[in-house]
């Protein structure tokens, strides 16, 4: 379970996600369904996901493509409306009926950094306008000179020069662009950043610069991160708590050290086994068969059972729930029954 941040149990976690589900209707049009006799089709991108993030911590969400990581991110920042479940920011419910003032209050404390620094900026805007847009939208600074001043501060904060504000995005390399996205995200003084694969499009030497910058900003500004990545080594480097997702569900949640030292869910073990061996220890790998199934027609029971070496009959019928086992929350019948 998540540990309390230290200032007593009274303060709620900064963000709490409870039984979050997001379903997408991907049916064909009404007429086509009638003509071909097809039923409605629903894609369960996220299915009953719960986790908490304490203030100042980083929650890493890891999984293969199509497992619903990015959907979680988008629901959390409010780009999608959840199908079921709720999200609490400092103990207060978001996405409720009172959408409006509450939403605006939360919006200006939460920002998102996207994966592709080439696609997340308008190529025809100068960098200073890109960074100033949130400031103007939330009316956080008045007057040209005040905004200019703030943009210059932000550029310095992310390791760029104030004169870079006059340039256009194409004049920057991938790493510099990601710095600009970070500056834009920080422009409204948020408490909480959702980072969706922020370094996946970057080269390794640049990735290290961005990860260091993000950690430094976290220390300095007390930021809280929801950090999404498919790269386990990056998740290991940045996270305090880690959640592993598979086909829309969380299969294991634990503190970083616990998860990496004693992984319990067979899928977590599989993922850790696929990490290339850069220490050259000549570790023997277990080859893993199969692929991630189609989320439109996920297998019944535990979604992982067709690939799982520990699967039994129960796994193909009953979906396991997250239960605590030692210091870990894990959704696996085999762990629960003590077979693992």
């Amino acid at each position: 379970m998540t540990e309390t941040a230290g200032n007593g149990a009274a303060s709620p976690p900064l963000l709490e996600v409870r039984w979050l589900s997001k379903h997408f209707d991907i049916s064909r049009s009404w007429l086509k369904r009638i003509l071909t006799g097809q039923p409605r089709m629903v894609l369960n991108a996220v299915d009953g996901v719960s986790f908490k993030i304490e203030r100042g911590e980083t929650f890493g969400l890891v999984g293969e493509s199509g497992c619903g990581k990015s959907t979680v991110a988008r629901v959390v920042v409010g780009l999608y409306h959840p199908t079921r479940g709720e999200i609490l920011f400092e103990g207060r419910k978001m996405h409720g009926r009172s959408r409006g003032t509450m939403q605006a209050q939360v919006d200006c404390r939460m920002q998102m950094i996207f994966q592709d620094p080439y696609a997340s900026m308008d190529p025809r805007w100068r960098v200073r306008n890109i960074i100033a847009e949130p400031i103007r939208a939330f009316k956080l600074a008045k007057g040209r000179s005040a905004i200019r001043q703030r943009v210059a501060e932000l550029l310095i904060q992310v390791g760029l020069s104030p004169t870079d504000g006059e340039k256009y995005p194409h004049e920057f390399s991938g790493g510099q662009r990601q710095r600009i996205s970070i500056a834009r995200a920080l422009s409204i003084n948020p408490d909480f950043l959702v980072c969706d694969e922020p370094t996946s499009a970057l080269d390794v030497s640049v990735q290290a610069q961005i990860l260091n910058l993000m950690k430094e900003l976290q220390r300095r500004l007390g930021l809280t991160y929801l950090f999404i990545s498919h790269n386990l080594a990056v998740i290991h480097h940045v996270s305090d708590q880690v959640g592993v997702m598979y086909l829309g569900r969380l299969c294991e949640v634990a503190a970083k050290r616990t998860l990496f030292n004693r992984p319990q869910h067979p899928y977590t073990r599989l993922l850790l086994d696929t990490v290339p061996d850069l220490d050259m220890t000549n570790r023997q790998r277990q080859p893993v068969g199969g692929e991630v199934p189609n989320p439109i027609n996920p297998p019944p029971g535990c979604a992982f059972h067709p690939r799982c070496p520990e699967a039994c009959d129960r796994c193909s019928i009953e979906a396991p729930q997250l239960r605590s086992s030692e210091e870990t929350l894990v959704a696996c019948h085999a762990v629960e029954e003590g077979r693992l």
Partner: protein, 342 residues
Amino acid sequence: MTPSTPSCGNSPMSLLDVEHLRVEFPTRHGVLVAVDDVSFSIDEGEVLGVVGESGAGKSITGLAIIGLLDRPGRIARGTIRFEGQKINGLPKEAMRRIRGAKISAIFQDPLTSLNPLYTIGRQLVETITTHNDLTLSQARGRAIDLLNEVGISAADRRIDCYPHEFSGGMRQRVVVALALCANPRLIIADEPTTALDVSIQAQIIALLRRLCRDHRTAIILITHDMGVIAETSDRVAVMYAGRFAEIGSLRDVIKSPKHPYTVGLMNSIPIIGHEIEDLPHINGSMPRLHEIPPGCAFNPRCSRAVDRCRVERPGLMPTGNPGQMASCWVFDKESGNDGNGR
């Protein structure tokens, strides 16, 4: 510039010998040099990993070898010898007969390497009959064998499927099967696993390794991912701004890198189990092709750069470890350095 002996291979005649390769792209704003003075050789059954950041010239090197450089790109200097025969500058038709039959390629995105309008069977049979003297039914039999070999179950049924009916990992297996149609001696695999999920990536890597062992096929594996290299390669070449920064055996390059760039690169990769607050990183980023600095291309980012590095360009020099060479003045014998470059 030191005219280094390019051959790091062991046999007197390697399968592929590349010497002083230089690829240029003439543009309106001057000539861009994408690959400069690249020399290496590869033996049969060997996997040479070529690693570098995007824009380092890895893919261009691969395309130059297989003769698929897009205009206006051209090989301005150097020779490429395959089985002792010079293959750069061959007439189109002669090169076409080598390509596919003796040297084949696997590219990053399996969806764009396959024709979406034809069944995979038709694509395989077409490639097989182009390079072998087989009847259609024999070719179909061979296609099924190939699909089985790359690990596609129920191959006799799935051979009549279209590419969109396959998942990403399965498509990449089909692309590998296509590359194997004519039993090539050399496969150039350009980021073959980058578009795939980690667990599928491990399967494709295992497949490539097995092919290499069973058929004595040589592979040039081009990737930006040091992890993939560590799992597959026998030797590694590190590219930076169009040049080889370092080449050597896998173990040497990963465990005791010599070139300051490789050292920085290896340090900046987060590794599970290593608890560090900040990753050591290299400042700045790789220069774009039109602004490569004089001297060593890495000098503006290098903490050990001296005046000579800003003026004179280093070639590959022996580092003391057998077979490991680095383009860094630290290893210059004449300057009295003992080669203990770190």
